[in-house]
Amino acid sequence: MGKFSKGGKKNVPAISTASLPDIVFMLLFFFMTVTTMKETDLKVRISKPKATEVKKLENKNLVKYINIGPPINKYKAKYGNEAMIQLNDQFARVRDVGPWVNAERGGMDPANRAKMTTALKVDKTAKMGIITDIKQELRKAKALKITYIADKTTTDMFNK
């Protein structure tokens, strides 16, 4: 029917890609806001323990991490296989924990200082001795809010 078909050659217009950048930028901003930059390279090997009674860490800026675990292969020859403490990006001793807490707390917004949480990211093979020492240091530094980093699991641990 002539009503619908127009005579002559008809050019199909190219699909406009002008909005593609907008879409990609939207994705970009999404990822920029929901992710955090990798701040430190771990020098200790951490395989997280599992637990059921865990909560998400809410405000990332208020959480400071203490990594504890055996050194990765690169440092094994130098430091052996015993669990070590890593603060920021270097190895530390137990007595460095107190000053580190104070330094980290000093770098925070004064309003948030009391809300600081120290996260103990500990390899599951570590022994309690070093943990107890660190907890003592934290108590001395009055950093009483701690959290034990663990992966959430729904199965009961004694069923495995």
């Binding site: 930059m37 323990p49 637990a51 107890t132 663990a150």
Partner: protein, 190 residues
């Protein structure tokens, strides 16, 4: 004069640039959110005060030794029995003489409520594995969450997580998280 057309800037490559940025952020960032078990350390005592007198029935000592064997009040128990034991200890449903005393406290929504004076003291050896310690800790925290959940269901008809903030505070007060991290002086050296 030649006709000059205002040509549009080709925006096709814009997408490529944006993709490049997107991929850069994807590889340099981590999305994994950490989860953790939140606890509070007891403040350090400034003076050499005498520790408050401990009534034996109010304290449940959970000991994990260097071979990762768990003992409650000196008797070995398996991991899956801890929650049950801790729940019985904190709730003391029959008012038994060997389980904790209660302290009547004024709590919103509940009125005068018998709050358990029970305290679990978790003690470890220096050679206890961290994994075992966390598992025991987890079981103890679980006993409290289960008790709180049961209490909320009984009182408000919904689970603890669905309560309003005031209600949650009240239930938390009625069933406090009384797990003490052992003082290191009580820990035996290897």
């Amino acid at each position: 004069m030649a006709r000059r057309e205002l040509t549009e800037i080709n925006a096709g490559s814009m997408a490529d640039i944006a993709f490049l940025l997107l991929i850069f952020f994807l590889v340099t960032t981590t999305m994994s959110t950490n989860t953790g078990m939140q606890r509070k350390l007891p403040p350090i005592e400034e003076h050499d005060e005498k520790p408050p007198e401990v009534i034996e029935r109010n304290v449940m000592v959970v000991l994990v030794n260097k071979d990762n064997i768990i003992a409650i009040k000196g008797k070995p128990v398996s991991l899956d029995k801890i929650t049950e034991k801790a729940k019985l200890f904190f709730s003391n449903p029959q008012g038994r003489e060997d389980l904790p005393q209660v302290d009547y406290k004024e709590i919103p929504f509940f009125g005068k409520y018998p709050v358990s004076k029970g305290l679990v003291s978790l003690q470890t050896d220096r050679n206890t594995s961290y994994e075992k310690y966390l598992q025991v800790q987890n079981e103890l925290v679980r006993s409290i969450s289960e008790l709180r959940n049961e209490k909320s269901k009984e009182k408000f008809g919904v689970s603890f997580d669905d309560l309003t903030e005031d209600q949650r505070d009240a239930v938390s007060k009625a069933i406090p998280l009384a797990i003490s991290e052992a003082e290191p002086r009580r820990i035996t050296n290897k």
